[in-house]
């Protein structure tokens, strides 16, 4: 796993699989510059075949713009095709506003924290 200190600017994404759930922890800033790498990594996990649901922990995401919304919308479509659920947790105020503006809350579920998100999807944390 990458250490946070290795990359002071930009975004670090930590991926972990728990049963059929892909858990992603985003640390840093998600903009257009970072969006492509996140998309590619995220897609490669989804294409392994043994993932159905996705949890994204946004606790340490300090900045996001509409490029990030694009990544979420794109992956939501893929998760939906897998008949899975997409859950975001620990969402901060400013990211929440963007989700509200874009209507993403209509399709993406939210939980207060990672443990709640995991239990929602039937995974013991």
């Amino acid at each position: 796993m990458l250490k946070k200190e290795e990359k002071l600017l930009g975004l670090v994404s930590y991926f972990e699989q728990k049963e059929n759930v892909l858990l992603i922890r985003l640390v840093g800033e998600l903009d257009h510059h970072e969006a492509e790498t996140l998309k590619t990594d995220w897609e490669s996990y989804l294409s392994t075949g043994d993932i159905k649901h996705v949890i994204v922990n946004l606790e340490q995401l300090s900045f996001m713009d509409s490029s990030g919304l694009g990544v979420f919308l794109g992956r939501y479509k893929q998760v939906k095709a897998l008949e899975g659920e997409m859950v975001v947790c620990s969402i901060n105020r400013s990211v929440k506003r963007l989700f509200e503006l874009s209507g993403l809350f209509k399709v993406v579920q939210t939980e207060a924290n990672e443990a709640d998100a995991l239990s929602r999807l039937g995974v013991a944390s």
Binding site: E29, F63, S66, S67, V71, G74, L101
Partner: protein, 146 residues
């Protein structure tokens, strides 16, 4: 108080975070709240990203100019490119509209700019686009709880 600044940068995606840091640092003299700072950083990110993706279509030789002026409690920010311009500004400003769906754009850039700022003006021709953003930091008249 009046003050102004102007920065020129290459149309590279690395410079999106640079533009955010520059603007956040410059407006800090108005003692903005954390929410205001995030709003301004977000709209600058949107406008600079638009210049790079749409104005220059990822040609990194393009140049983006970021300028900002402060007049009392009012901040005006200009993001200018010399790219291909926007064919139809009204269409571009529609929520969820994107001219580049293949790039997985959300089409929310202008909607975010409109929501987070007090005024948005887009001037575009075949020689480039200038986005003008105005925000007032009137702390005396702000509601106490938001």
């Amino acid at each position: 108080m009046t003050n102004h600044m102007k920065v020129e940068m290459a149309a590279k995606s690395e410079n999106e975070s640079f533009a955010r840091v520059v603007i956040a640092s410059f407006i800090s003299q108005l003692d903005p709240t954390l929410d205001e700072l995030t709003e301004v950083k977000t709209v600058i990110s949107e406008a600079v990203t638009n210049a790079i993706i749409h104005g220059y279509e990822a040609n990194e030789e393009g140049v983006v100019i970021l300028a900002c002026s402060i007049e009392d409690d009012e901040v005006t920010i200009w993001v200018q490119d010399f790219g291909r311009g926007i064919d139809d500004v009204h269409e571009a400003m529609e929520p969820m509209y994107t001219s580049k769906p293949e790039l997985e754009r959300s089409g929310m850039g202008f909607t975010i700019m409109e929501n987070f700022m007090d005024q948005l003006d887009v001037h575009s021709s075949e020689t480039g686009t200038t986005v003008t953003l105005v925000k007032r930091f009137n702390h005396d008249h702000r509601p106490i709880a938001k």
